[in-house]
Symmetry: C2
Subunit: 329 residues, 2 copies
DNA sequence: ATTGTTTATGTAAACGGTTACATATAGTTT
DNA sequence: AAACTATATGTAACCGTTTACATAAACAAT
C-alpha cells in the first residue's frame, strides 16, 4: 500500500502539500495539484483511515447495536440505517446485544475504542448505562428514551388501532398477547390495546409471552387455543407470534377470519405471504432506520436539529386475517 | 479518555513499561506491575484501538459483506459469523452489496482503509475483483470459489434431494423454479434437481424467477399456476418463493400436499410457521457463518488449515407440504 | 575482581496521516 | 522603493500506541 510519503516523493512535493490536495484545504498551485493527482493515480494511493482517525480523534464509523438481527423486524431497520449512513460516507460497526447488558457494554467499549463518530442503539438497557457520559452522539432506535435522542414508532397508538379494528370487525372474545415485559415497544402496544379493549363491550384475556423466539411462538399459539378455545380474536405481540397463531388456528381447522380474526404487529416482509395474508399494524422499520441515521448524522455534523424525538406513525394494513367492514359501517 | 501517558505518569513509569504490562511482554517487576494496574483501574484506562491498529497495521475488525441482510437467509449467516468472530475478540464491519459491483468495491475499499484483519464475503462478483491481490485473508461464504477459501452448502445435492423426495412422494407434473441466473447457489440447486428429474419418469417445466424479492415472489406464484395449472409438485428456488407458492395455491383452493406438493430451499426460521409448514431443503446457515468465521480466523492466526473448502451438508426437512411416505415404501 | 547473564526500565523511532507555523515569492498599494 | 497581502510550499509536532535499542542493577560464574 502506498502512503502519503510515496505520493509526496513521486510528485516531488512535501506530504503537507499532498494532504492539502487530498483535503482541498489551504493553497496549492494548479500545476502542483495536477502533479500530485497524477502521482495518486499512478500509485493507486488512498489515504489510510486509521491514521486519519487517530489524529482526528474520530472515524467515519457508526456503531450499530441491535438486540438480534435474526428477529425479522431488525434487518429492515438495519438496512435503513445502512443506506443512509453509507450515503453520507459512513460505515457500520455492527453487533447484536441479545438484550444482554454485558454484551452491550462490550460493544459500547469497542465503539469507543474504535473512535466511532456516533452510535445507534436499539436496546432496552439504555437508561442503565448512560450513553450520555460517553460524549459520543447517540440515538436510540425503536425505544423512546427521555433525555436522549430517539426514533420510534407509536406503539401505543398501534395497540389502540389493533384493538379498535378487531372489535369493529366483530370479535367479542379477544385474547391479547402481551409480549416480553422488558421490551418497551411491546408493552406500549399492549397498553394501547388494553386501553381500547377496556372501554369496549367485549371479553378479553391477556396471555404473556416471554420472548419473541420462533421456537416458543409455536408453543404459545398452542397454549392460547387450549386455554381460550372460544377466542374469536387475537391481537398478537408481533408478526412472528401472529404467524404461529395463524398456523395453529389453521391446524385446528378454524376458519380465518370467519372464526378467529388475527392482527399482528410490525408488518415484516413475510406477512403478506402468509395464508391468509396477515392483517397487521405496520411499523415503518426501514424509515425508522433511516430517520435514526439522519438524526445521528445531523448531530455529528452539528446541524440544527428540530426535535430530539421522532415518533413515526403506525398504520393498519388490512389483509385477510380480519373481516371486511362495509364502507357504510 | 485517559491515554497510556496518563497511566505512565500516575504509576511513575515510562509508557514502555505500561505497554509491557498491557501486552504481557518483556520483563516487568511484580511491584511495578501492580502500580501500573492500579493506575489503569483508577483512570479507567483502556487502550486506543485506533493507535494500536496504526502501528500494528491490522485491526481487530473483520469485514462482512452480504448481498442483502433483508433477505431472510442472511441474518442467520450473519449471526453465525458474529458469534464466532466476537468470541475470538474480533468485531464486524458490515455492509450490503446488493450484488452491485460498485458497492462491493466501495466496501472492499473501506475494509482495506480500515485495516481489517480479514474479509468474509457472500457475493457473486468474487472472481471479478480478485480478493487475492488484496493480501487480506478472505473467505467466501455461500459461494464456492476455486482458488479461494470458501464455505458453502451442497446446493447441487440439495436440488437432487428435493427432486427425489417430491417424485418419491408422487408428484408427476413438476414445476421447478430456477432462481436468478447470477446467483450461483440457486443454479446449483436447479442443476441438481434437473439431473434427477431428467432421469425420472415425470413431466416437468422450468420457470425462471429473476430475483429473490418478496414483491415479485407473489407474482411468480400467480404466473406459475396460470401457466401450469395442472402442476402437482413445485420445487421452489428458496423458502420465500415457496411461501408465495403456498399462499397462491391456498388461495386457489388447492389442497397441500394432496393436490400440490411444495419443497422449498433454505429452511428460514419462518418456514415452520407457515401453514402448512414447509418441507424444505435445509442449509445450515448459522453453521455456515460460524465455519466461515473459524476458517478466516485460522488464516489470520496462521493456524494450520485442513481444507480451503468447507462444503456443508444439506438435509431434507420433512414437514407438511409434502405427502408422507410409508416406511415400507 | 572480572566477565557474563538475567531482570528491569527508559528513550526514541516508528505507524500514516493533519495542521500550526515558518518561510518565500509574486503581486498590490502607497 | 517600501510595506503589505495573497499565494505556495515546506518543517515538524502531534494523535496514542508498540517495540528496537540502550542502559543499568543484581546476581552468578570464572
Amino acid at each position: 500500500m502506498a502512503t502519503i510519503k510515496d505520493v509526496a516523493k513521486a510528485a516531488e512535493v512535501s506530504v503537507a502539500t499532498v494532504s492539502r490536495v487530498l483535503n482541498k484545504t489551504g493553497y496549492v498551485h494548479e500545476d502542483t495539484r495536477k502533479r500530485v493527482e497524477t502521482a495518486i493515480k499512478e500509485l493507486n494511493y488512498s489515504p489510510n483511515e486509521v491514521a486519519r482517525s487517530l489524529y482526528k480523534r474520530g472515524s467515519k464509523l457508526i456503531g450499530l447495536l441491535l438486540p438480534d438481527i435474526t428477529n425479522p423486524f431488525f434487518p429492515e431497520l438495519a438496512r435503513g440505517v445502512e443506506d443512509e449512513v453509507q450515503k453520507q460516507g459512513y460505515r457500520l460497526l455492527f453487533g447484536n446485544s441479545d438484550e444482554n447488558i454485558d454484551k452491550e457494554l462490550e460493544y459500547i467499549h469497542t465503539f469507543v475504542q474504535n473512535h466511532v463518530a456516533g452510535i445507534i442503539s436499539a436496546t432496552d438497557q439504555a437508561g442503565k448505562l448512560n450513553y450520555q457520559h460517553l460524549k459520543i452522539p447517540s440515538v436510540f432506535l425503536d425505544r423512546a428514551s427521555d433525555g436522549e435522542f430517539s426514533v420510534y414508532a407509536d406503539g401505543k397508538e398501534g395497540g389502540r388501532i389493533a384493538a379498535r379494528e378487531i372489535v369493529q370487525r366483530g370479535s367479542r372474545k379477544i385474547t391479547v398477547l402481551k409480549g416480553p415485559v422488558h421490551v418497551q415497544p411491546a408493552q406500549d402496544r399492549f397498553q394501547g390495546a388494553l386501553e381500547v379493549l377496556g372501554e369496549s363491550n367485549v371479553d378479553f384475556h391477556v396471555m404473556t409471552t416471554s420472548s419473541f423466539s420462533f421456537q416458543e411462538a409455536k408453543q404459545w399459539a398452542e397454549e392460547l387455543f387450549t386455554k381460550y378455545p372460544e377466542a374469536d380474536g387475537v391481537i398478537a405481540s408481533n408478526d412472528i407470534t401472529a404467524a404461529a397463531v395463524i398456523h395453529e388456528a389453521s391446524r385446528l381447522g378454524k376458519m380465518i377470519p370467519e372464526d378467529v380474526q388475527i392482527i399482528g404487529f410490525d408488518d415484516i416482509p413475510l406477512s403478506s405471504l402468509l395464508f391468509p395474508s396477515l392483517s397487521t399494524i405496520r411499523q415503518p422499520a426501514y424509515d425508522m432506520g433511516r430517520e435514526a441515521a439522519k438524526l445521528l448524522l445531523s448531530q455529528i455534523a452539528n446541524k440544527p436539529i428540530e426535535s430530539q424525538h421522532i415518533k413515526l406513525p403506525v398504520t393498519f394494513i388490512e389483509r385477510n386475517t380480519t373481516r371486511k367492514v362495509d364502507n357504510n359501517g
